[in-house]
Amino acid sequence: MSAPMAAAASEQLPNPILTVEHLSMRFGGLVAVDDLSFTAERGQITALIGPNGAGKTTVFNCITGFYKPTTGLIRLAHADGRAYLLERLLNFRVAQRARVARTFQNIRLFQGMTALENLVVAQHNVLMKASGFTFAGLVGLKSYRSAESAAVEKARYWLERTALLSRADDPAGALAYGEQRRLEIARAMCTDPVLLCLDEPAAGLNAHESAELNDLLQFIRREHGTSVLLIEHDMSVVMEISDHIVVLDYGVKIADGTPEEIRNDPKVIAAYLGVEDEDEVANVEAEVGR
């Protein structure tokens, strides 16, 4: 992966930020992901969908460095041409160097810390440098103090964006469920990611909150140019905001395309309805009166 591809790419040519090639992940005898290849375009929202147990979260864990894939390549290209092979990076380096941020299916906030602190912790690496790896900060140098107020400003910006400004000084554990989901996205955005991976961000949200989430994700994509990779079951979110959808079933990719294509793909419908072959889909659809 020495040749910088992004430099040669023009606007018409595909300009993938994330290329997954022949990714497989086995846990003993269980094949969770089997020879999966897909790409996510820069500046777009790509959704990864599939029935429960299809291996979506496993793919996420491979991309964000929490699992070492059994085989396969995961290549992340920055806009300036630098490329990273994510499967070779240590888990925290994926966020630090390759700038891939993620959220978790079961929210993982720092519950005993305030919302503001959560967002400042996310800027750890920037602040660590500014504090001269603690030594300059310990003696209270001015450069560190200005870096810290810049970090607080950034946190304030994201709190405002996620409508959490009034809860800034409350512990994250005291926030309502929907607020916690938004705070986790804000925290991920505070790491200045090029790729934001969201694991079921709409889980447990009501229709109104889901609509707000759509706006937030589109804002992130539009204003910050952050590409988004999304696992989601809520089709009102997936179909409305995704530019591209990849469908997994039993660890295998069964479809890949625009929302319109996916909506009409018989294989996808078969997978979601839990029937064996595509002919039966027609029967089922006839029964439910579609």
Binding site: T64, G65, F66, N91, F92, R93, V94, A95, Q96, A101, R102, F104, R108, L109, F110, Q111, G112, M113, T114, L116, E117, V120, V121, A122, H124, N125, L127, M128, S131, T134, G137, L138, G140, Y144, E148, V152, R156, L159, L165, A168, D169, D170, P171, A172, G173, A174, R187, A188, T191
Partner: protein, 441 residues
């Protein structure tokens, strides 16, 4: 107390329920004790068994059970009356606020008191020695608080670093004749080094497993000190460790001493007072550095790691170095305290560094409230002061100590100061309730 009924009806209901509960318990107790306590078979004059009755004892026991069950049902049962209800309502409301405003003054007041102790008790050697001991444990508690309270790493072998610091100073000073002020940082660095050595193998461990390994580490250090005769002197320890000097002026009688230079009459108390201020300064250094670190990225990363290690990694925080720095910094303060201990005692042996010491420091941190500097200081004072108060009841001391710990864990399971102070705020500094804060990573 979720229902909207007036408090008086509510407490009336609770009393009736508690009475019923207590009566039932008393009935069971009566049934049990009737034969065991109430009746007694004794050999009579003719060799035949005679039954004697002991109704007063039985009545007393059943009454005691009734009273105990009543109190328990009233205050700790399912429909318990909150203890605050016993106080006037306005007092209870003001109570919460008062606690926070009081705690703001307790710290400075304690500090001023500590500064004045040598002045107030100049004649009282016993108080001064006790003060030095309390401050040593305050410092150890604050050092361990970095590891347990902030980083959430349960370390049961903290005494190992105390020992490393003490032996570092003792060996460097007796072998190379280095002064205390050169040895102090060296002892800190060596202890920090051992903190990192311990940190590496336990990087992947957490909770109970981490506690077991650190416990073993503490024992290993003690056993090495005990058995490496040629280096550490084994069970004989190291004696005639140089006493500290006032920046080169020794606390002795005669020419060039501290007393002669300042034109004072020689008194052995000078050294004790100096030691008192020395450990106070070291403890305050620990406190200031810890409070500073909490507001720096490294300190926030420690706390974040305590809350959720996986989330830390997803944000690009290197949890390996974060853990190792927590171990190293905690160990460094332990090392400082250790070299102070060596210079104060003039003699050290492995016997001073048993698991009991680790347990005492841990108890201070847990009792004080993990992560709270003030709580740890108060806990050290209460604990060691309590030990001294009960010195006369040598036999019952541990019993009372254990009972007190159980009571405190029931009433204040998160320690004396359970709330967490946020490291920075946007509009208003609000204390975070202990129930949100994780105890261990």
């Amino acid at each position: 107390m979720k229902s909207l009924a007036p408090a008086s009806t509510q407490s009336g209901l609770s009393i009736v329920a508690a009475l019923k509960d207590a009566a039932l318990t008393a009935a069971v107790a009566f049934g049990l004790f009737f034969f065991m306590i109430g009746l007694r078979a004794e050999q009579g004059l003719g060799g035949a068994l005679e039954i004697t009755t002991r109704w007063p004892s039985l009545a007393m026991l059943v009454a005691a059970v009734f009273a105990g069950a009543f109190v328990r049902a009233l205050f700790f049962g399912r429909r318990a009356i909150p203890l605050e209800c016993l106080l006037p309502a306005s007092f209870a409301r003001r109570g919460a606020k008062a606690v926070s405003s009081v705690s703001r003054f307790v710290g400075p007041a304690l500090l001023i008191f500590a500064l004045l102790v040598p002045v107030l008790f100049y004649q009282n050697r016993y108080i001064l020695d006790l003060g030095i001991m309390v401050l040593t444990y305050v410092m150890l508690g604050w050092g361990l608080n970095v590891v347990i309270g902030l980083a959430g790493l349960l370390d049961l072998g903290y005494v190992a670093f105390y020992a490393v610091g003490a032996y570092s100073y003792a060996l460097l000073a007796t072998t190379y004749g280095l002064s205390f002020w050169i040895c102090l940082p060296l002892a800190g660095i060596l202890a920090a080094f051992w903190g990192i050595i311990l940190g590496f193998p336990v990087l992947r461990l957490r909770g109970d497993y981490l506690a077991i390994v650190t416990l073993a580490f503490g024992e290993i250090i003690r056993l090495v000190l005990l058995n490496w005769q040629s280096f550490t002197g084994g069970p004989n320890g190291i004696s005639s460790i140089p006493r500290p000097s006032f920046f080169g002026l020794p606390f002795t009688d005669g020419e060039g001493s501290f007393a002669a230079t300042f034109g004072l009459e020689y008194s052995p108390t000078h050294r004790v007072v100096f030691l008192f201020y020395l450990i106070l300064a070291l403890a305050l250094l620990t406190n200031v550095v810890t409070l500073r670190l909490r507001r720096l990225p490294i300190g926030r990363a420690w706390e974040a790691m305590r809350e959720d290690e996986i989330a830390c990694r997803s944000l690009g925080i290197n949890t390996t170095t974060t853990k190792l720095t927590a171990f190293a910094i905690g160990a460094m303060f332990g090392g400082f305290a250790g070299s102070f201990f060596a210079t104060r005692q003039g003699f050290i042996s492995p016997e001073s560094f048993t698991f009991g010491e680790s347990a005492l420091v841990l108890a201070i941190v847990v009792l004080g409230g993990m992560g709270s500097q003030l709580g740890v200081a108060v806990a050290a004072l209460v604990m060691l002061g309590g030990f001294e108060l009960f010195r006369e009841f040598e036999l019952y001391r541990m019993l009372v100590f254990g009972f007190a710990m159980v009571l405190i864990m029931i009433w204040r399971p998160r320690g004396l100061v359970a709330t967490r102070d946020p490291s920075l705020y946007l509009t208003e500094r609000k204390a975070i309730a202990g129930s949100f804060v994780k105890v261990q990573g």
